[in-house]
Amino acid sequence: MENLPWFLLLIPFASAAIIQLGLKRNAMASSLLSTASVFITLIIAFLLLGKDSASSLTWIEAGNFKLEIGYQLDQLATGMMIVVTGIGFLVHVFSLGYMNDDEAKARYFGCLSLFMFSMTGIVLASNFAMMFIFWELVGLSSYLLIGHWYQKDSAADAAKKAFLVNRIGDFGFMIGILMLWGITGTIVFADMDGASLGTVCSCLAGTAILLVFCGAVGKSAQLPLHVWLPDAMEGPTPVSALIHAATMVAAGVYMMARLYISVGADMIPTWSADTIAWVGGITSLAAALMATQQSDIKKILAYSTLSQLGYMVMAVGLVEPDTGMFHLYTHAWFKALLFLGSACVIFACHHEQNIWKMGGLLKKMPLTGGTFAAGYAALIAVPYVTAGFYSKEEILTAAHGSPLFWVAAFVAFLTTFYMTRLFVVAFLGKSRSENADHAKEVGPIMFVPLIVLAALAIAAGFKPVAELLNAQDPRVEGREHPPIALIVSIVSLVLGLAAGFILYKGKTSDPLSIPLFRNKFYLDEIYQKLVTIFQDAVAAIVHFFDEFIIGGLLVGGATRSAQGVGNIFRNFAQNGKLSGYAYLMGLGAVLVIYFTVFAN
């Protein structure tokens, strides 16, 4: 029992290693091994529910300096572990069907196992150093999986982009870890003393927190580093469901919650918490606006994920990590469901992703459509019967009294609007292309995970279920919910539904055209320009240094001065006159005699 958590790490790792080293040629065996490994980890995760323990191995020791590899189990970790392994298992099962005909199935499942290993590592980590290592490992597996179809240039570019953008955030994360280490004297979560944060200047403590938050900005795709997530949709759709919707992108929120719990939420300087909240709020607003004008079904869901991650980060910034984690937990189920549902749709429509070329899919694929509707209902927070409602309610409650409340309310309206648009256009009405016309319901291996997820998308918010799955639940005794939160969420739901239905019912093309939103506020183009300008400037400076300072002054200067001195002597001494040579020889002889005989 004591060693059980280690198996959470070892089993996916063993699976990844075996597939990589031995089973690459045997696609079937690899996929089954990978699925079996994640099934076992799921069982272990269930066995560990409610456990509270910690253990560690010393990895590096030098004097007072000590790095450990260890696990720390508490409600936060076990609850998150259920989400990770649960969705991981369902996605593995789904992938058995979805990736059946893929040429590189073994590599795909090997990478999934690697991802499961890295993600469990983040969840279990007992200190920041270990978390950072696994943090980078999830980045690597995300890179590998986004670039799974690396033959496509767009996929290879998206993978590279994800990696590079994440590196920017991770650099800040590393500096933040080192600063926290300096302030608190430890990187072990359990030993972190929040009081030491109070002993230094709040600007220093706040900067450390914000730098750690940089890691979350990169991984959880917050503004301004959100640009990689929509591009990451180039990967296989089950990967988008697992990594880029439910688990890895939520790791930033998990990490912040872990930090808050370790140092104590009261010790976080107000200004840095406010910054975090506003980053989350603005991200959720901007992403929701972008989502309203996308026509790729996966892109809409990607922006929706960004927007919901913004909600979670906002909750964290409002110093309510429990609320953020609760939304993470409910969101994980229904967003994984929506992504897997879109995967079924894409699969059935022969890799058509444009919603304007779908339509009428609810009749053709009743199971997919029905479960998708459940996810849709959860995302737009239909009151009382869906999980999304409960967590969104908590976020609105947390934001109550701050301008962010109205941002969150407006985002709720936008969410309802763009999801209604997606559902109406893709699932209702008539088929608008041959592919959609010929769509058929997917096989049981793909719809069974959908049904499980749909059940959770509805039920995960209910108190007994949340308790059973050990989720962080902010709904404790005595927490007051302002009535305005409920009113606002119902009003925004009704308005969003009405606007979506009226605008998009029976349309064959988008009646609204807002290029600013469709082009994502031109942020990609701006970054492109900025990077080019910055890079050109650096290149020009380096070139100047190389060409003129090193080449011209140091190397060229040495040769030129040698040449110049040589020229002087050549003109003056080597003149071709015999008498001159004789004179110099005589002078030389005289000097030699003078120095040997007289100069002593």
């Binding site: 050549r570 080597q574 003149n575 071709g576 006159k577 015999l578 008498s579 040579y581 004789a582 005589g586």
Partner: protein
């Protein structure tokens, strides 16, 4: 004896003469342009060296007798110088055949 009244020259006077000869020879080598004159000046420098050897030999007495080693060496110098003159003149002749001149101003191949 008409020369009896002359004083016997000392070593210093020999050395002065020899140094003077050497300096005149060196100046000739440096200043003159005619290669044959330069050659003669060179011979003069050799003669100056030989004179020094003889003078030292005369004034360096061992057991009351002059040390003749220096004078022996002078014979060798004269012999070798004779051979050198033969070689040197041959070079000058062939130089003249090649360039039709013996003036050093016109021989500037070594100019860098």
């Amino acid at each position: 004896m008409p020369f009896d009244s002359l004083p016997t020259p000392s070593l210093n006077e020999y050395l002065m003469i020899s140094g003077l000869l050497f300096a005149i020879g060196l100046a000739g080598v440096i200043i003159r342009r005619n290669i044959i004159v330069i050659f003669m000046c060179l011979e003069m420098m050799l003669a100056a060296a030989s004179l020094t050897l003889v003078a030292f030999s005369r004034f360096n007495t061992v057991d009351g007798l002059p040390d003749y080693d220096g004078q022996m060496l002078v014979f060798f110098v004269i012999t070798v110088a004779a051979a050198e003159v033969a070689v040197g003149l041959a070079i000058i002749v062939s130089l003249y055949r090649a360039r039709q001149t013996i003036h050093t101003d016109e021989l500037t191949t070594l100019k860098g």
